[in-house]
């Protein structure tokens, strides 16, 4: 009889490592299987890690984790070709404990985070692909790997195998993914001396800044670009829905070059030295794309369960939170000796009752509405830029006249009725 575990976690990203960690803390025998050379070697993220959900797995993690900088300023840029409207918030309270969020480099952070699970007693096996779930009598009872004699058994298998989750697909737990349900993101890490980063972004010491960029950065397709400051490098990236890339026939790396050379962005990154180029898919289908989360002997978490809030750039935190909820459901199932779909169902209810289910429900129609109504990006962002330019240009025109002209130009393109409808529609999908 081959060795049997209480739990096998497939994938050692933030979700998998969080789940394995909590399972082990509760005395379960856990195996975590990673297909990369090390945890993080297949993982890509723009770079914002949230404090709250990470802290629930490893208290005061910032004292020892390989984080880059605590973010003290969040900026939002609405870009036109040669201008931008910017807003943001900077607060010194974010520069001290307990912090709000951090920039991280995932290949480094994930190794550390998986190691914390190992310290709790999890057995981690790298360089191993899980090719299928072993099923008996309609129950998942283990995994088949690409190693010789690679069958391993467990009471529960947790699928934390990322956005493409071939395992959830092969178990029929989710529908085929659509081009509009994923964002294709390309990014670069640019090395730059710490002092230069601090000067350019107006930062002191180890403070960090995040910039979310809308509008011309994606040439009107639904998506965003970003700039995140690391210790001595900058992450710059851009992504749009795969359907947007296909429609506009943009090559992702050429879009990235367009962003890097944009006159509003170039001054921040010029003379940086490229250190790495990475591409990844982000599951952005939201609430309607959530797969079946629980089966007999199996749970789906993190990106594999499409748990990403695109509008608030939350993903790794949802992965960790879902991993923890999965672990709690498994502990309960173990006590009741019932690993069936019913026995594990508390995971599903936890997800839908938590901020994950609630937030994804709140924005459930947002992606499709913005995807199908390109005027939000193509008309209103240029309009904001023109309005700001007119209002702040001192040319002898009275401000009342300027306001009237701006109001008129607001409704010129879409008509008064069209604008009201757009505002109502945007409010409806965001309320």
């Amino acid at each position: 009889m081959p060795e049997k575990f209480d739990v096998i976690v497939v994938g050692a990203g933030p979700g998998g490592a969080a789940c394995a960690n909590v399972c082990a803390k509760n005395g379960l025998k856990v195996l975590m299987v990673e297909r990369g050379e090390y945890p993080g070697s297949k993982n890509v993220m723009g770079g914002i890690l949230y404090r709250k959900q990470t802290e629930e797995i490893v208290p005061e993690f910032w004292k020892e984790a390989p984080i880059e900088r605590p973010v003290v300023e969040q900026r939002f840029w609405m870009l036109e070709k040669e201008s931008m409207v910017s807003m943001g918030y900077k607060g010194k309270e974010w520069a001290q404990e307990p912090y709000n969020n951090f920039t991280v480099l995932r290949a480094q952070f994930d190794q550390w985070f998986a190691q914390k699970a190992v310290e709790e007693g999890v057995l981690l096996i790298n360089e191993t692909v899980v090719t299928e779930c072993i099923q008996e009598d309609g129950k998942v009872v283990g995994i088949r790997t690409d190693r010789p004699d690679g069958d391993i058994y467990a009471d529960v298998v947790v699928l934390a195998d990322g956005v493409n989750s071939l395992l959830a697909k092969s178990l029929g737990m989710r529908k085929p993914m659509q081009n509009e349900d994923v964002a294709l993101c390309a990014m670069e890490v640019l090395n730059m001396p710490k002092g230069k980063i601090n000067d350019r972004f107006g930062l002191e010491g180890n403070e960090g800044c995040s910039v979310e960029i809308f509008g011309d950065a994606t040439k009107g397709e639904l998506g965003t670009a970003f700039l995140y400051t690391n210790k001595d490098s900058i992450n710059i990236g851009v992504g749009t829905t795969l359907s947007g890339m296909i429609r506009s026939k943009i090559k992702p790396y050429e879009l990235l070059e367009y962003v890097k050379n944009h006159p509003m962005i170039r001054p921040y990154i010029h003379d940086g030295e490229s250190a790495e180029y990475l591409a990844h898919l982000i599951p952005e289908g939201g609430y309607n794309a959530i797969p079946k989360l629980v089966g007999n002997g199996v749970l789906v978490i993190g990106d594999a369960a499409q748990l990403v809030n695109a509008i608030h750039r939350e993903g790794s935190n949802m992965a960790m939170a879902s991993g923890k909820m999965a672990a709690e459901a498994i502990v309960k199932a173990k006590q009741n000796k019932d690993f069936s779909e019913v026995g594990l169902d508390s995971y599903r209810t936890s997800i839908y009752d938590s901020f994950i289910g609630q937030d994804l429900k709140k924005y459930k129609d947002l992606t499709h509405t913005f995807e199908n109504n390109p005027q939000y990006l193509n008309e209103y962002i240029p309009l904001m830029n023109r309005a700001a330019s007119q209002f702040f240009t001192i040319d002898g025109t009275p401000k009342w006249d300027k306001q009237a002209k701006i109001m008129k130009s607001m409704t010129a393109g879409r008509g008064k009725f069209g604008v009201v409808k757009d505002i109502y529609q945007a409010w409806k999908v965001m309320k």
């Binding site: 993220m45 191993t128 692909v129 659509q178 081009n179 090559k251 180029y277 591409a279 898919l281």
Partner: protein
């Protein structure tokens, strides 16, 4: 700074498996049933190159993102993970 895709791809570390993890199921479909060969545009690693009559698959430069798995209009790409420990090795982000 890396400008071209060649320069960008050169920044990456790969541990290529001798066997491709990407398979065109029916090369004839790419030639006769596919307009524009869109995978050659959206693939972030420029893995797919149309050679006039046949699709060349440079799987060694694959980021394993899955775009071609979803985006191929003819579902004509068999997409698997490279063997354990193989494929792209991200070192930073």
């Amino acid at each position: 700074m890396a400008k071209t895709i060649e320069e960008k791809q050169y920044l990456l570390r790969y541990n290529a498996d001798p066997k491709s993890h990407l398979t065109i199921l029916d090369h004839n479909k790419c030639a006769t049933q596919c307009e524009g060969q869109i995978c050659t545009i959206f693939c972030p690693g420029e893995v797919y190159k149309w050679e006039g009559d046949r699709m060349f698959v440079g799987y060694e430069g694959c980021h394993e993102c899955g775009s071609c798995r979803i985006g191929c209009p003819n579902d004509n790409i068999k997409w698997e993970y490279p063997k354990g420990g193989h494929g792209v090795v991200f070192r930073l982000a």
